[in-house]
């Protein structure tokens, strides 16, 4: 490609430019993934978890003996369902004996979300051990996208078109999921507990049930807490420059505006930022008195360390500080940091949390499973089987979606009671706040904090 004198020709330049562009896109995708993982961990983050449970002997659950209908469902309140249209034909994934569900979870490659599969599998095993749902076993097909969107898209298509699964449950392949939202919508496949979902999809996509507040709402709740409960007069929000984090940051700012907070600072942060000292110096010089960090774990530690170096410690909120490893690395500077959580803290030890621990102990007795991630599969699986149980023998996707959209003041034990309706798939607009004390994440109160 270069000529004999070694000079770069036009083609060389075009190639190099294309390579640089390709690299940038590649790195951006990796960067996006990191953000999605941070977001996921934040979403799943449920406070101090000291136990670790076993790796499974198999990822795909085995069915078990039959049990009375509905007994396998969660302890949540039940509501009657509207009468739905009878199925026009056989429903994908549904037979007299079983209902097949699938999930694509990133387990290899750049990240390992396999605990989600463990949690999902644990509840499916629990249900099957008690006879299934209305006499039907739950069959779980697990795929791994290997942090590869092509593989992930193929896996999702395989589940839908070859395996003919009824629904995706505990879906968590961040890069692949975002790319396949439209595909799943076109195919009419319900997705329960998707770990990554942009704000607009909560209102416009009737097939997606993320089972949490939207990123915008999470940002608003955090903003409200900073301004109202922490008394911030000039708050700042530091946002990782990725879609869902930016949506969350926008929510925070919107909430401040709604509350009449006019003097605030917003800074977006690239994942490549190697030096947070300029950010800290700028914030301090502007008189910022409260900082909300919507950052990944590494950036959070680096920000906290840079602030410590400047001898600056304003009241802070941080979505990554639920991870006690982050707090350990950040040291003294992390103490007192407030942590928002959008699902129930495991230490709350309510009925669902106890059931979760028992099931994880039962099905993974060797330990080694990260529980705060495992809830990301267990929780949506519980909601799925609970709604499924209410459908009776006539199981169709349409009836299932209607069932989900009929949940009223529904208490799944992981979130405050919520109501889902067509055009609004957000669960309760609430969070629980915790604080970092001696490196541990300790709930401030047992009460849900509503927007």
């Amino acid at each position: 490609m270069s000529n004999r004198s070694g000079r770069l020709g036009l083609r060389d330049k075009v190639f190099l430019g294309a390579l640089a562009l390709a690299l940038l896109v590649n790195l951006w995708m990796v960067d996006s993934l990191r953000d999605e993982v941070a977001k996921l961990r934040k979403a799943q983050g449920t406070g101090p978890v000291t136990e670790a449970l076993a790796e499974p002997s198999a990822q795909v659950t085995e069915d078990s003996a039959a049990a009375p209908a509905g007994e396998a469902a969660s302890s949540a309140d039940r509501t009657s369902l509207p009468v739905a249209q009878p199925p026009g034909g056989s429903q994908a994934g549904v037979s007299k004996a079983a209902i097949k569900i699938g999930t694509v979870v990133t387990q290899t490659g750049l990240v390992d979300m396999s605990p989600i599969v463990r949690g999902l599998s644990a509840w499916v095993q629990h249900v099957n051990a008690e006879g299934g749902v209305n006499g039907r076993r739950i069959e779980l097909v697990v795929e791994d996208d290997g942090t590869d969107t092509s593989r992930g898209s193929a896996a999702i298509r395989k589940l839908v078109e070859n395996d003919k699964v009824f629904a995706l449950v505990g879906e968590c392949a961040p890069l692949s999921d975002v790319q396949n939202i439209e595909y799943l919508k076109q195919k009419g496949v319900p997705v329960i507990g998707s770990c990554i979902l942009p704000t607009d999809q909560f209102k416009t996509n009737r097939y997606q049930f993320a089972l949490r507040p939207s990123p915008d709402t999470e940002g608003r709740i955090t903003g409200k807490y900073a301004a109202k409960d922490m008394g911030a007069k000039k708050p700042a929000v530091i946002v990782l420059d990725q879609q869902l984090m930016v949506e969350m940051g926008n929510g925070t700012v919107a909430q401040w505006k709604a509350m009449g907070v006019k003097d605030y600072v917003v800074e977006t942060v690239a994942a490549t930022n190697p030096n947070f000292t300029p950010t800290v110096v700028r914030l301090r010089s502007q008189g910022v008195d409260n900082v909300t960090l919507l950052l990944d774990s590494a950036s959070t530690i680096r920000f906290l360390q840079a602030a410590a170096q400047q001898g600056w410690k304003p009241p802070m909120l941080s979505i990554s500080s639920y991870d006690e490893e982050v707090n350990r690395y950040a040291g003294e500077q992390a103490e007192g940091t407030v942590v928002p959580g959008f699902t129930e803290y495991l230490v709350t030890n309510g009925p669902q949390q106890r059931q979760f621990r028992a099931d994880m102990q039962r099905f993974y007795p060797q330990g080694g499973v990260r529980l705060e991630l495992a809830t990301g599969g267990y929780h949506p699986a519980q909601v799925f089987t609970d709604v499924l149980g209410k459908l009776g023998d006539d199981v169709t996707r349409e009836r299932f979606i209607n069932g989900m959209e009929s949940l009223t003041n529904y208490d799944d034990g992981w979130e405050p009671p919520y109501t889902l309706r067509s055009g609004n798939h957000e669960t309760a607009r609430a969070a629980k706040f915790a604080v970092v004390k001696e490196g541990r994440v300790v709930p401030i109160t047992g009460q849900w904090y509503y927007l």
Partner: protein, 288 residues
Amino acid sequence: MTSLILGLATGSIYALMALGVVIVYKATGVLNFAHGAMGMMAAFLFSSLTLRNLPVGLALLVALLFSAGLGVAVAFALRPLRRAPRLTRAIFMLGMLALLQNLAVSIWGPKVRMVPSLFPSGGLRIFGFVLGYDQMGIMLVAAGLVIALSAFFRLTKLGVGIRAVSSDQDAAALQGINVTRITIVTWILGSVLAGVAGIMISSPAADIFSLTLLVIQAFAAALLGRLTSLPATLVGGLVLGVLTTVPASFDALRPHAQTIPPVVSFLLIVGILMFRSDSSLISRAGEA
């Protein structure tokens, strides 16, 4: 003044990262897209060793020895491609990047890791802020490496050999220079520099992706140094640091403060590739 100093501190990070890129490119013509990933591997190994209570100095030595070994491995892996087009070798390095990333995830998992600083905590208060010893250390190391490497290329037989090979491999071989040996030494040098940069930059904490992503700014700094000159690369890094830090001190740009670096870097990369004269990009010999 505060922004300027902070910009120089940030720029020295870019420069430190870019030095290894330049050296490898000078001698082998390979654009090392995996430079950041190679640094990450060293940083993570260093982190693992210190977490196992190995003394920092010993951990550093082991990590840099590992880097040297990694350089040798890459050099041998590239041998079949030494006559291949530049594009082929660049693609090979992209593959190496992916390989190292995945290897790191396999070994250490995707979690963030604590990397102890090589410098004491604290710093000096100047112009109303604290310039950390770690930042000062990176500035000094970057400048010191430029001086030392420049001297190495001019004053040592090995350095002159690298320059000769970078000028014309065939001619160098005809003069009895062992091109294979020189190439391996160059990769060792480049890889160790990646390791030094990785270990210093990733403190106090890093994940697998941070250093890999930093390669964009490193390339921009290296291109400002025409991919040939180490002093110019240092200056390029510092300029890049200032360009990406000072604008954030203006209110209008502040919301975008931290997105400026990658944007500026990428614009610089594309701009330099498209508009610089051919000769300045490729005349690899004689400029150290």
